[in-house]
Symmetry: C2
Subunit: 289 residues, 2 copies
């Protein structure tokens, strides 16, 4: 039985707690700055014990599952306290600021920078779900800076949860995620805002919404305390992707104004290609063990 | 056994054909400018007979299920040919240009302007699915311009397919749909375009996409021949909604650049409200018979 100390008992921390607890091999210790989350997690049954930060020195694993703005300082504080055999990993959506903050820490080799690409638009302990990471891609950044044995054990742990592992540079990671995740969230938040603003009589307009609107606006339900820090930490890549997105919208807008059916159709045909790519990936993921 | 003549044998025409045929009360005649669609529909079993436009005069019902740019002229041509007891309805996503085109037609009272808010991102005869309209909102525009008995029969037909009916002004309809449907499609198409452009090595970036990206980009698979005409016909309302959307994106972008966490968080909290509204509507729809 290994002690796992999870800091941050929300969607991500809670979901991994559930999976680890279900194996029967781990005892789950937890900390959350929101005391009601700690109590909820205990009640939900996937947390065994609320502990204080000092317990870091006694854990086999320490998992950092807090919003990304707290990760760099928390990672330093945790590394300051860990025993030599402890493995620390985070679950944050941005990797470079964390990697940079601990680059010269004497215990850098004990931390693995992990980003499981999995989640929902819900948050808090009640949002935690079992098997969240099954078949999902999980990225590990700067693997060469972690002690090989600790890296290997971490990879095995994630594989045991059903995750597929990919190793990556942290700057590359943050840039790519700006395009395939952060931009989607901003697009969805602003779509929600635009429709809320136009409609004085909300029920009226939202009644007319079909499944297409629901699909594009789903991420507007996401938790601001999670996402504001992501947007701010990854601002460089996000501003680039957002500027390109706004440019594309502006060009499409002008083609509509010019009634250029041929060009509009040609652009949409290009975009249809996204469907084929996603279908190809879905098929590949499905086939993998 | 009533004859139903459907013009346009794609997702919408095919889906209503399937439902009507399943009742056992209708014989389905069909026309499509794409002869391969006619053959496919016959093979799929929901089309009984391929006919020519002259058959309009013998049908109890004529359903116009073509792209919206063809609707105004097709509606006039069909009304020119129909017998006095025939009911004509369309299934288009834009209503004002159609209503305007037939406003002074001597047989205006025989047409019902219908828009079922239902669909998928797929197209063509193979995309047709049974029960597509069940529990979905179906809008009827300018009901006072249709003969009351024909209007009533049409409402009953749609209710028999499980649809919920709402009556509406056609200009209001087109404006609202610009916000809750057309804007979502443009947002999704351009998101797909932006990500395709950034990535030379497509597999790499798309591999990193989670369910959030898939959800926001799903509509980018939609058929250009359906959507280009919608964007062009409804350009006035779409340009307005698109300009507001671009403004919101630009403001959010500037807040990220200024690292204004407080304001970003406040805006996202407002947007979260969309989730509550959509949940409320889903609950209401679920409770309705």
């Amino acid at each position: 039985m290994e002690n796992v100390l999870i800091i941050g008992l929300g969607l991500m921390g809670g979901s991994i707690a559930k999976d680890l607890k279900n194996t029967g091999n781990y005892r789950i210790l937890g900390i959350d700055h929101d005391k009601s989350h700690e109590q909820e997690a205990l009640k939900l049954g996937w947390l065994d014990e609320i502990v204080s930060i000092e317990k870091v020195s006694k854990a086999a694993w320490v998992i950092l599952a807090v919003p990304v703005n707290h990760l760099p300082t928390l990672a330093v504080e945790v590394l300051n306290r860990v025993a030599d055999n402890t493995i620390v990993f985070d679950m944050g959506s941005i990797k470079h600021p964390l990697c940079k903050a601990i680059a010269h820490h004497p215990k850098r080799t004990q931390l693995v920078a992990v980003h499981p690409i999995a989640g929902t638009e819900y948050s808090g302990p009640t949002a935690a779900i079992a098997n969240l990471f099954k078949r999902k891609l999980t990225i590990i950044c700067e693997p060469h800076l972690t002690c090989p044995q600790k890296l290997e054990k971490t990879i095995q742990l994630w594989k045991s949860l059903g995750a597929r592992i990919q190793l990556m540079d942290s700057v590359e990671h943050d840039k790519h995620l700006a395009y395939v995740s952060h931009l989607s969230h901003i697009s969805s938040f602003m779509l929600g805002k635009t429709v809320l603003e136009i409609e004085h009589d909300e029920r009226q307009i939202f009644n007319l919404a079909g499944s297409g609107f629901e699909s594009t606006v789903r991420l507007a339900k996401s938790a601001p305390p999670t996402w504001a820090p992501i947007f701010l930490q990854n601002h460089q890549h996000i501003l680039q992707s957002l500027d390109e997105y706004i440019d594309n919208l502006q060009q499409f807008r002008n083609l509509i104004q010019q009634q250029d059916e041929q060009q509009l159709t040609a652009i949409m045909h290009q975009c249809n290609h996204v469907g084929e790519i996603l279908a190809g990936i879905a098929l590949k993921n499905h086939q993998e063990p």
